[in-house]
Amino acid sequence: MRKPVEQIEEATILFAGDSGDGSQTIGTQMTETTALIGNDVATLPDYPAEIRAPAGSIAGVSGFQLHFSSEQIHTPGDLCDVLVAMNPAALKVHLNKLKPNGILIVNTDNFARRNLRLAGYEEDPLEDDKLTKYQVFRVELTQLTRKALEATQLSVPEIDRCKNFFALGMILWLYNRPMEYTMKWIKAKFAKRPQYVESNILALRAGNTYCEATEQFAVSYDVKPADFEPGTYRNIEGNMATVLGLVAASYQSGLPLVYGSYPITPASDILHGLAQYRNFGVVTMQMEDEIAAVGVAIGAAFSGSLGVTGSSGPGLALKSEAINLAMIAELPLVVCNIQRAGPSTGMPTKTEQSDLLQMFYGRNGESPLPIIAPSRPFDCFETVYEACRIAVKYRTPVIFLSDLYIAMGAEPWKIPQLSELPEIRPDFAVSADTRNGFEPYLRDPETLARPWAKPGTAGLEHRIGGLEKSDVTGHVSYDAENHQRMVEIRAEKVARIADALPPTEVFGAPEGDILLLGWGGTYGAIRTTAENCVADGLPIAHVHLRHLNPFPKDLGDILQRFKKILIPEQNSGQLLQLIRSTYLIDAIGFNKVQGQPFHVFELAAKIDEILEEIGRA
């Protein structure tokens, strides 16, 4: 008879194992299925260092955390209800993330002496009593999988590679999810290798029936669909949303997209993604280095295409001189920086927000640029589209400042209607409408944008370059007053972008004790914290900035309405710096520079601390 099913609101599962164990695969599959049956989901893949570590070692552990709920959620969750540990190293690394009394599933077949030593365990943790505060399920995953697949013609290594699906089968059972989506995926994935289709599906089923059959689990759980606003949804990662946003901007503006890049973690997937869309006329150029990558994008922009380049911190450092050229040449250009943990090579597979000031100031001379940042995976679509719109409208390079956490995280995305996408009008110059012939630096009085005249247009032949140019004519000029004027115009042009921005959304109390001010990938943790506070009736609000340069015009007023401004950042206080100097407000920083996202409980604790100070609670 069917085992009892318990209704719960949400759950967090962490799949962890050796890089080779396929935790990322089953994590993604569980996410897909869960999203498809209507839960809200948020994920956090946690890769080991770029380079493959020895099998079974601590450094080789790869994890995938999935949080799903019948309510709206914004983070992959602080602690987990279920931890699937495929080997001792995975247990060692992730046990601290499992809630007390949480479910721990271990593959006992991998707990041989050698594995234990590799993980740095003196003796077998499964033996001693360290695990008593959890519900431990010891499963001979390898053996069971082999048994299930013995009929197949596959070699033992091949069979063992299927054990992750056995684990997935168990989890699907545990949360009452259908196997069909995964089976569909397996069939597509191994279309060319039918024997693998069979084997993986066998393993999946085996894991599922194992739970049904054995006494292991008394109950299973069900999480009802969340209520989303009507629309068509898909699950999407940040980098993929960025890819789609760029293609959309090209499609809607009619400007062919030329993406110049040089591979670097975590930006490479944007190059890989865009390279798929030649049928959209997308040109991707993998160049010899980051300088060449931005160079081709600038050249393309000069030719009248949508020039885009993308990289991460170290690459941005190299691009800075050329970006500065595009700035003074006033050409539309979109520069994507998918931040990772620095400084220098740093920790390339970990997340951080420490390039903000580099984007503001990492160029010689006075070189103001618009900077905008996405707040969550699906927001990359809208934000990068906005970057393209601003670049084209104002004829300026725009920095799209994403980060590894958003780039690799996934969540459901309500697919927009094309009609909802703002218009992007290239408005190329077609004729010289001034008495003095074509004047490449004669500006639009409203936006201060200069004309975009592409080669091939008769009568608009002109020369631009990196030397200071005289207002209107664009000829080289060393004139003192002209230089002052041009420096001011370039600053003013960026400042005016704020004129056309919508009012800033303030979540929570319109005024009160604490304003949580954030930007980028910290959105999920901050918003969840704010929601909890608001639910507790605390006078707290959350503002999340998409536009970092220029700041929204109403920001100053909003800041005035709160006793304390708390700025959580995954750096040592960069937005903090800018807010303090701009508004002369004694804002407080809450800084975590660990390559890991904020936990909601960390933020909550900080807020309590501040409330203490200002004498509440």
Binding site: E32, Y181, Y277, V283, P455, E461
Partner: protein, 348 residues
């Protein structure tokens, strides 16, 4: 002559003159600089190329030579030091119909820009590169460059430079350049002819132009450019012609094994048939490499003219083909469909 993409002037439209290619900016080089001649020859040859000037783009880096685009009444971009090849690649990729010209110096192309230079060669974009080699940094007022002879005394090397110079021709050949040539600022006719062939070549065309910097490196090339010494120190390369040189054209270059030697063709011992015959269309670069090195390691005369001119597919064409075939196979991209691609679900 090979077909070019650069869209030509429709018949009937009045053809252009040198004047049409002169911009309104006054030319700023030191009096006597070799750059003036190169500019003049370029402006003179442009009308003969038969493309409207709005389809022409000159792109340069930084240096005296790199001021060039300001003086051409075409589209132009004076970019940053060493990066012209990258920007030119972007311009050409974005619009293959444009006739794209890169103007660069020995420092701009071979010092800071060395990497972009060699990668441009291997990608074979259909652009033309004019390298003004004056073997010095002119704009920064006289430091040695990667083409300066070893031991050169300059502001930055009062006791002489210690590095061995590059041979730009060898470097271009090794990088897979499909058109490689050398000409002289002081030989207007030859220079114009070479510029024209470079334009007609489909693929990256590289021309090393010996250019006199009369302020910081005066006379660097006089042995190759001046009446009295020219004939004995240079050999003019002509396809299918033997390597003959000398005021009386009585000297030739002959090969035994891989060892070349200079022979007299008049004393009966050797005839023209014994000499190396130039083949600029050879796919294999062995001969071209030999010619490139003749004057530095073998002290034979210095070759002037076209070392190599072969046809390889261009980057922009291969990329454009990928786009065309992709559209044929998958159909013109449809954004609506793309956004709704993959596993989706609908909430109503």
């Amino acid at each position: 002559m090979r077909r070019k993409r650069s869209s030509r002037i429709p018949a009937g439209v009045p053809t252009l003159s040198k004047k049409d290619f002169e911009s309104d900016q006054d030319v700023r080089w030191c009096p006597g600089c070799g750059d003036y001649s190169i500019l003049a020859q370029t402006q003179r040859i442009m009308p003969e190329l038969g493309i409207p000037k709005e389809n022409i783009v000159f792109i340069s880096g930084i240096g005296c030579s790199s001021r060039f685009p300001y003086y051409m009444n075409t589209y132009g971009f004076h970019t940053i030091h060493g990066r012209a090849p990258t920007i030119a690649s972007g311009v050409k990729m974005a619009n293959p119909d444009l006739s794209v010209w890169v103007i660069t110096g020995d420092g701009d192309a071979l010092s800071i820009g060395g990497n972009h230079f060699i990668h441009l060669m291997r990608r074979n974009f259909d652009v033309n590169v004019l390298l003004f080699n004056n073997r010095i940094y002119g704009l920064t007022k006289g430091q040695y460059s990667p083409t300066s002879e070893q031991g050169k005394q300059t502001k930055s090397t009062p006791l002489g430079s210690v590095d061995t110079p590059f041979n730009p021709i060898s470097l271009a050949l090794a990088s897979g350049a499909t058109f490689v040539a050398r000409s002289l600022d002081r030989d207007p006719n030859h220079l114009r002819a070479i510029i024209k062939s470079a334009f007609e070549h489909k693929g990256t065309s590289f021309i090393e132009i010996y250019q006199n910097c009369n302020v910081f490196n005066d006379g660097a090339f006089f042995q190759y450019t001046e009446k009295d010494t020219k004939a004995d120190n240079t050999v003019i390369l002509e396809h299918n012609e033997p390597l003959v040189f000398g005021a009386e054209r009585d000297k030739g270059i002959r090969l035994n094994g891989f060892q070349p030697e200079v022979v007299k063709t008049t004393n009966g011992e050797y005839s023209m048939d014994d000499l190396i015959v130039h083949d600029q269309y050879a796919e294999d670069t062995t001969l071209a490499n030999f010619l490139a090195r003749m004057s530095d390691t073998l002290d034979l005369p210095d070759p002037i003219g076209i070392f190599r001119s072969i046809r390889h597919p261009c980057y922009e064409d291969l990329m454009t083909n990928q786009i065309r075939t992709a559209k044929e196979r998958m159909g013109e991209g449809n954004l609506e469909a793309l956004l709704n691609d993959g596993e989706t679900w609908t909430v109503s």
